[in-house]
């Protein structure tokens, strides 16, 4: 079991450029979550998918951020026109859709640095 895979592990972009982050959930998991981690804000929920369908994007900034899950084996988080305040570690997690106790397994994260 390879766990949740996130690529790239590190990404550096210039202000105004686009960044696409990839997540491969654990095989058989039907829920995928995206979080953002900064020292100041801690871990913040962004969005999640269940059986590839978007369920809750209440944590996503309304502009420039979008997420997709085109198939059960990967999800992407895209940030358009990146800004320095987007610098953070972006974490993907997956879980079985087992109801309330569905443990979320986190990937190692992608550290995004916007210069």
């Amino acid at each position: 079991n390879a766990g949740v895979i996130q690529t790239p592990r590190h990404k550096v972009t210039g202000k105004g450029q686009e960044a696409t982050l990839w997540c491969e959930p654990i095989s058989g998991h039907s829920a995928v979550f995206w979080y953002r981690q900064t020292i100041v804000q801690g871990l913040e929920f962004l969005t999640y998918f269940r059986n590839q369908a978007p369920i809750d994007d209440s944590g996503m900034p309304k502009e420039r951020f979008s997420a997709q899950m085109p198939n059960q084996s990967h999800s992407t988080l895209k940030i358009q026109s990146t800004q320095p305040q987007d610098s953070a570690v972006y974490l993907c997690a997956s879980s079985f859709w087992g109801g309330n106790y569905a443990e979320q397994f986190f990937g190692p994260g992608t550290r995004l640095t916007v210069l």
Partner: protein, 111 residues
């Protein structure tokens, strides 16, 4: 909205001593509470979870009891080890939604 409060940002202590990390929460619903641990440069991993009022849950020497009357889910360990040095997050979830995390408590254990 829902929120989780961890009052200690940093806890430093000597190996072998007990530790308690505070966690309180606010929600209008019946939540599920979790403790996650994140070692340096690693992904957060689930340490404990509970939704049952007044029932102690234990794992790897750590334990916590969910008290709905006081909206608390404090994490304790009777004797910390050097390997317990990490970042600890308390989190809540409402029916398999995204987790709402506290800001985290960094624990540093010294010899």
């Amino acid at each position: 909205g829902d929120s989780v409060t961890q009052t200690e940002g940093l806890v430093t202590l000597t190996k072998g001593l007990p530790v308690m990390l505070n966690c309180t929460y606010q929600t209008t619903y019946s939540p599920f509470l979790f403790w996650y641990v994140q070692h340096l440069n690693e992904a957060p991993k689930l340490l404990l979870k509970s939704s049952t009022d007044n029932k102690r849950t234990e794992h790897q020497g750590f334990y916590a009891t969910l008290h709905k009357s006081s909206s608390s889910f404090h994490l304790q360990k009777s004797s910390v080890q050097l390997s317990d040095s990490a970042l600890y997050f308390c989190a809540l979830s409402l029916y398999a939604q995204g987790l709402t995390f506290g800001l985290g408590t960094r624990v540093s254990v010294f010899p």
